[in-house]
């Protein structure tokens, strides 16, 4: 299939999952022309990630944060590019990344990597790849017992997340799978991962989603601000956490909640303002803010997106990377994924 890069998909994408990108009807390609500078920026970023990916699929070479979650986000950047994941320019990079994520999973518990952050983002990455990447030839033939296919790995991961949630009285997650407390940042990554897996056709019990969403509603102040962990809610402005809140309500199909209106309102009223990330770096904020605004209010997203393009344009390095608090690898992936809403190729971006 030729590049889809010129056109973006409108709102006609089917909501039924799993989706195979190549199966999209041609008449679905309705929408605006992607701005040239977005394409150029995204391509240069892809080039950077493609050239710095190591043989075993991770981004150790570009330093900073590493782990299955980081690889999972890198995987999503390639999937979101619109290139054919099986035969296109980056098909090898896609497979390397997918293998790396699966290799980071415990065969017995299903847990990815060192923290539940990893688990959430790895799960999300695999969920987006599931169905789109033809995994029949993902592994070299007949080698090793841990060479799971994407679907199997995803099922295992979902089970791990639910087990962890059940042990946690808050109904959410924190760094360790055995944590007894929770925070909205880690919980957001796991919950989005679960929602993506459910969208991809993996069975996720409603009870699990409801409990996690209910944790978020407790952490959301009437102002729309979302607290970090425990204690009194809504003391500070964290655009990242407010965006996470908006996003989980939206893709959790809970737009009916007053908390959703509050968080979304908080974001849309401050489209022009830089705001305080409040949690993590600005690229973490943008990664979530892009999705939250896109899911919640396309017009607001369009405005915000202009600003994003301008800001990223002025900070992209000559080699296509973005520097940031997480090191070039993860910072580049997050920045590009914030931009990827312009393409709307990932199922998780469906509205």
């Amino acid at each position: 299939m030729t590049r889809l890069g010129i056109l973006v998909l409108g709102y006609l994408l089917s909501v039924s999952a799993p989706l195979i990108a190549v199966a999209q009807p041609p008449n679905a390609r309705v929408g605006e022309i992607i701005p040239r500078d977005v394409r150029e920026m995204y391509d240069r970023g892809l080039q950077y990630l493609a050239t710095t990916q190591s043989e075993n699929g991770d981004w150790v070479k570009s330093g900073g944060q590493q782990g299955p979650g980081v690889t999972g986000l890198g995987l999503m950047v390639f999937l979101a590019s619109g290139e054919d994941p099986n035969f296109g320019l980056y098909s090898n990079h896609v497979r390397k990344a997918a293998r790396n994520v699966i290799a980071g999973q415990s065969a017995s518990t299903g847990f990815f990597g060192s923290s539940m952050y990893d688990h959430g983002f790895a799960m999300l990455g695999l969920a987006e790849a599931y169905g789109a990447v033809d995994d029949r030839s993902l592994w070299p033939e007949g080698k090793g017992k841990d060479q799971r296919l994407i679907g199997a790995a995803l099922e295992l991961a979902v089970r791990a997340a639910i087990t962890s949630q059940k042990k946690n009285s808050t109904g959410a997650w924190r760094y360790s799978p055995d944590s007894t407390d929770a925070d909205t940042s880690v919980a957001g990554s796991v919950l989005v991962g679960l929602l993506a897996a459910r969208n991809a056709g993996i069975e996720v019990p409603d009870e699990s989603i409801d409990k996690a969403v209910s944790y978020f509603t407790k952490m959301t102040a009437a102002s729309g601000q979302v607290a970090y962990s425990g204690g009194l809610g809504g003391f500070d402005e964290s655009m990242a956490r407010i965006s996470i809140g908006t996003l989980v309500y939206a893709i959790g199909r809970r737009k009916d909640l007053p908390q959703y209106k509050a968080t979304l309102g908080y974001l849309t009223q401050r489209v022009e303002q830089p705001g305080s990330p409040g949690h993590g770096g600005v690229e973490y904020q943008r990664y979530y803010q892009a999705q939250a605004l896109f899911q919640g209010d396309v017009e607001a997203w369009q405005k915000w997106n202009k600003l994003l393009i301008r800001q990223l344009k002025s900070t992209q390095q000559a080699d296509g990377s973005f520097n940031g608090s997480y090191g070039a690898g993860l910072s580049t992936s997050m920045s590009l994924l914030a931009l990827a809403l312009n393409y709307r190729f990932l199922p998780i971006y469906e509205r």
Binding site: E272, L307, S314, T315, S325
Partner: protein, 951 residues
């Protein structure tokens, strides 16, 4: 006012610094240029290699006023037993070898043995290698300061001179408490000066009053001084009208408040006495020219032992002995062997030891023949005569007074002064438009000659007036050539004029219209004249053109000046879409408001300011514009405006914004907010190609067109209002041709040019252009946001910002929580350190802070530190339940009506106030936060330490 004088001081310092390393050639036409004196073939020509030029100039000697050499840091003291004062003001230091009726043989450093005509020696005195000398001069304006920015005094043959009314020079010459000050003043027309001895370095007129002043009253020279209630005045001598001079010796004792004035040959003329209330010695001299003109020709300051000179018969030749006694008579001989003088009076011959000689008057003054040239050394040696040779490192001079021709080294020179200016020797003036070349430390009248740019010489070739040669400027120099001076700034119309104007306009157009016009604030009125639409670039270029299109990259235009059609956004400052517009004028407040960037737009500032025909302004980001409409993004939404509504567009560049932050500190006197981290990647590690250079560099790049910094760059300011920056390559046929970054090949006739700016002068001039001043500045950040890491941005220790700090704590009495009617009265706690914590149960940060405060106070509990929580306007029940829930145990005073909070200006809580044992507020913290505990602990420790020291 202060800043102005500081600025002047800076300018002075700069100008001194720039010319400090090189001698400066001064021309009779007022020009000056630093450089080096070169060997020349004939003494009629002064060859001068100026530092800013590649080739030497050859000036006719008559066009030269003087050469002044930089002053050595320590004035060299002349050696020799005697100082000889000769005719024509010459001064020599040396030893006396022999003395006859015809000549004196002297041994002088630099010159060796020389024979000086006896009748040219006015006076000789024991020098003792200058032990008592404090100052000997003058040496031009060196050591003098002039307060005015426009120099009104100039150096006339090494002597300060002026004919400007009310101007003065002042210098600190280190006048000791007891001093002899000998000076000579000359005037051409009419004297009206004040020569004040003993002034300090203030501009205050009172210092002048306290000084010992020689003044002209009608036709008398008087001496006066006023110290407190005491004052004294005495006449010195009468002054005839017309040209004249005074030569006086003043014996000044500032401690005793006494000054005696003598004529140079020893006759007492005047005396004043004022008793100083407190003894003060002021080391300076100020010479004011009230009217007419004045020139300071001589100034010598020596230490004085306080013993007044004896009375003398001033007209007679005589000797003063070291014991003060006077011997009248002609010195007729000197025996070098026995070191004895022979003095003859009425044929009676007496001999006495040279060691007893203080001074000798050898010949009465007579009319001196004019000399052509004078050499002054830094040690005070002065010689005048005919210049016969200019060598590599020496000069040759013949003097009427000295038998031997002299070879004088250039080393240690102070000045070379041309005394006579014969007009015959002037050089033929070449063809070309005459102008003035200004550079740092250079002013040369002259003209540009044909030239061609090479790697080491500019195509700007300057031929100064009276030089037979021309020289290219060095590449990379900075300056300007002025052909036509800009008109002086219009004086601001007075209230009456405005009123008159309004009255006039009222008849046609109505009052409102007139009012608006008077404020220059109304709708844009295209002027009838002009008929051009102009584009203004950041470099200052002003180009007549028609705007065709604006797109993402820049501006497309049509101009009659070249085939070029495009300029990038980063170079543009403003574009006028109507003819005959000028820079918008708004009142200061409106303009400031219009150009203030709200904090929420910090990261996406508007890039353009669009002005409508009706005078409205719109800020935004222009996306594109064609012949029909303008698309502008306002608050991230694109809007369309018909093009024909637009009068003007001003570009607001992000790098200007950063500079504006710096400016705001000066303008508003407030601490500017930290520059927002527009560095979006968070940790400042981004280094894209465009970010490698600092914002300032980028500005410079954008503005300076500095593609090739080693090439000459000029901006022509043409009389038709066009300004054009380009790299000139060739000057021929009175036309300068080169390449412009924007317009490509371009040329301009010198006849059309008012000024030619060279090098960095272009940016300097551009910075003061009217459109340049239209730039955004950041809104002031709220204080709380600046208070990062618990440190005030100014580095002061926190808790000291409130105006209440240092003041007595307002006393109050409040009921205590659960106290059954008991009250807390602050005055009762005198002798204790009291910490008041203002709080409320609804205040989350208060509840976070309170345990921290409680913990700190607990550490100091046994040292008389008392914590009282002052609750704001809440019910006892609610307070108690919250305290129980949070397990807080502290004394709470209930400020039920908020009166106490008002007294302590607690507009934001938590507010924690520390009161010392005397009842004075020593710290006031607002906002709590994680740093509060440490800051509070620190404050308490400080107080307790002070207690210990006191004990």
């Amino acid at each position: 006012m202060k800043s102005v004088s500081l600025l002047i001081a800076l300018i002075l310092a700069c100008s001194v610094a720039s010319s400090a390393d090189n001698p400066v050639l001064h021309l009779s036409d007022g020009g000056f240029v630093p450089g080096e004196l070169m060997k020349s073939a004939t003494p009629e020509v002064v060859r001068w290699q100026a530092t800013a030029f590649t080739q030497p100039f050859e000036f006719s000697r008559g066009a030269i006023s003087a050469v002044h050499y930089p002053r050595a840091t320590e004035t060299p003291k002349p050696v020799g037993e005697y100082c000889f004062e000769l005719a024509a003001g010459d001064v020599l230091f040396g030893d006396l070898i022999n003395l006859t009726n015809d000549h004196a043989e002297l041994d002088v450093a630099r010159l060796g043995r020389i024979h000086v005509q006896r009748e040219h020696i006015r006076r000789m005195y024991r020098w003792g290698s200058g032990a008592d000398l404090v100052y000997l001069g003058p040496n031009g304006l060196v050591g003098w300061n002039e307060p005015a920015t426009i120099k009104q005094w100039h150096d006339e043959g090494g002597q300060p001179q002026t004919d400007k009314e009310g101007s003065y020079i002042r210098g600190d010459f280190g006048i000791p408490a007891q001093a002899v000050i000998e000076f000579e003043l000359f005037w051409k027309t009419k004297p009206d000066f004040v020569m004040a001895l003993g002034v300090d370095d203030s501009e205050d007129e009172a210092t002048l009053k306290r000084a010992y002043r020689f003044e002209i009253w009608d036709n008398e020279l008087v001496l006066r001084c006023e110290l407190g209630r005491e004052a004294d005045v005495d006449t010195v001598q009468s002054i005839a009208s017309g040209s004249g001079r005074v030569h006086l010796v003043a014996y000044l004792d500032q401690e005793k408040g006494r000054m005696l004035v003598y004529s140079p040959n020893g006759k007492q003329l005047s005396e004043i006495n004022v008793k100083p209330r407190k003894v003060q010695t002021h080391p300076g001299i100020r010479l004011t020219n009230r009217k007419g003109d004045v020139r300071l020709e001589r100034l010598r300051i020596t230490r004085w032992d306080g013993v007044p000179p004896r009375e003398v018969q001033p007209d007679k030749v005589r000797l003063h002995r070291t014991d003060g006694s006077i011997v009248y008579g002609q010195v007729t001989g000197f025996d070098a062997q026995s070191k004895q003088f022979t003095v003859t009076d009425d044929k009676q011959e007496t001999k006495f030891d040279a060691a007893q000689l203080a001074s000798a008057f050898l010949s009465p003054p007579s009319e001196d023949k004019p000399r052509a040239f004078r050499v002054v050394y830094q040690d005070g040696t002065r010689l005048s005569g005919e210049l016969t040779e200019i060598g590599d490192a020496h000069l040759r001079l013949t003097s009427l007074s000295i038998r031997e021709p002299m070879t004088l080294p250039v080393a240690a020179l102070q000045s070379l002064v041309v005394l006579t200016h014969d007009s015959d020797s002037s050089v033929e003036t070449p063809d070309g438009r005459s102008g003035k070349l200004h550079m740092g430390g250079v002013l040369l009248h002259g003209r540009l000659m044909n030239g061609r740019e090479t790697s080491d010489a500019s195509c700007l070739v300057w031929n100064p007036d009276n030089s037979s040669t021309a020289s290219p400027l060095r590449v990379g120099t900075t300056g300007r050539i002025v052909y036509r001076e800009p008109p002086p700034p219009q004086p601001k119309p007075t209230a009456q004029q405005i009123q008159a104007q309004q009255m006039q306009q009222q008849h046609g157009g109505g009052f409102a219209n007139a009012f608006l016009k008077a404020l220059a604030n109304g709708p844009v009125q295209p002027a009838a004249a002009g008929g051009r639409r102009l584009m203004h670039l950041r470099s200052g270029d002003t180009i007549p053109c028609d705007l065709t299109q604006i797109n993402e990259e820049g501006v497309t235009f049509r101009t009659s000046m070249s085939d070029a059609t495009f300029v990038a956004h980063e170079k543009v400052k403003a574009i006028e879409l109507l003819t005959g517009l000028s820079v918008p004028k708004l009142n200061k407040l409106k303009q400031q408001r219009l150009l203030t960037l709200p904090r929420m737009q910090k990261d996406s500032p508007p890039t353009h300011l669009v002005r409508s025909k009706d005078g409205d302004f719109l800020r935004g980001r222009i996306l594109d514009m064609d012949d029909k409409r303008l698309t502008i993004e306002i608050r991230l939404e694109a809007k369309e405006i018909p093009r024909d509504r637009i009068a003007q567009i001003i570009w607001l560049h992000p790098d200007e914004l950063k500079n504006a932050v710096d400016d705001s500190t000066n303008e508003l006197g407030v601490v500017s907010p930290p520059v927002s981290s527009s560095n979006e990647t968070g940790d400042g590690s981004s280094k894209s190609a465009s970010e490698d250079s600092s914002p300032k560099d980028r500005t410079a790049d954008a503005v300076s067109l500095a593609k090739n910094p080693t090439a000459t760059r000029v901006q022509a300011l043409r009389s038709d209002g066009i300004r054009l920056t380009f790299f000139p390559e060739i000057l021929a046929d009175k036309t300068l041709s080169g390449k412009s970054d924007v317009l490509g090949a371009c040329r301009t006739e010198l006849a059309q040019v008012d000024q030619l700016l060279i090098g960095r002068e272009i940016e300097k001039a551009a910075a003061s252009l009217a459109y340049t001043k239209w730039k955004l500045h950041h809104a002031i950040e709220p204080k709380i946001a600046q208070d990062v890491d618990g440190q005030s941005p100014d580095g002061r220790s926190p808790g000291l910002d409130s105006p209440l700090v240092g003041k007595p704590a307002p006393d109050f009495e409040l009921p205590l929580l659960g106290g059954n009617g008991k009250k807390f009265h602050l005055a009762d706690s005198k002798g204790h350190i009291v910490v008041l914590d203002f709080w409320a149960t609804w205040c989350g940060p208060c509840l976070q802070t309170m345990p921290l405060v409680e913990k700190v106070i607990h550490e100091f509990a046994d040292q008389g530190v008392q914590l009282v929580g002052v609750n704001l306007e809440e019910q006892a029940k609610q307070i108690t339940s919250t305290m129980e829930r949070h397990k807080l145990q502290l004394t709470v005073a209930m400020d039920q009506d908020g009166v106490v909070a008002g007294k302590y200006e607690a507009n934001a809580i938590p507010q924690t106030v520390v009161i010392d044992r005397e009842g004075k507020i020593v710290r006031l913290f607002v906002g709590g936060g994680p740093h509060l505990a440490e800051q509070l602990r620190e404050a308490l420790r400080e107080l307790l330490d002070a207690d210990k020291t006191a004990q």
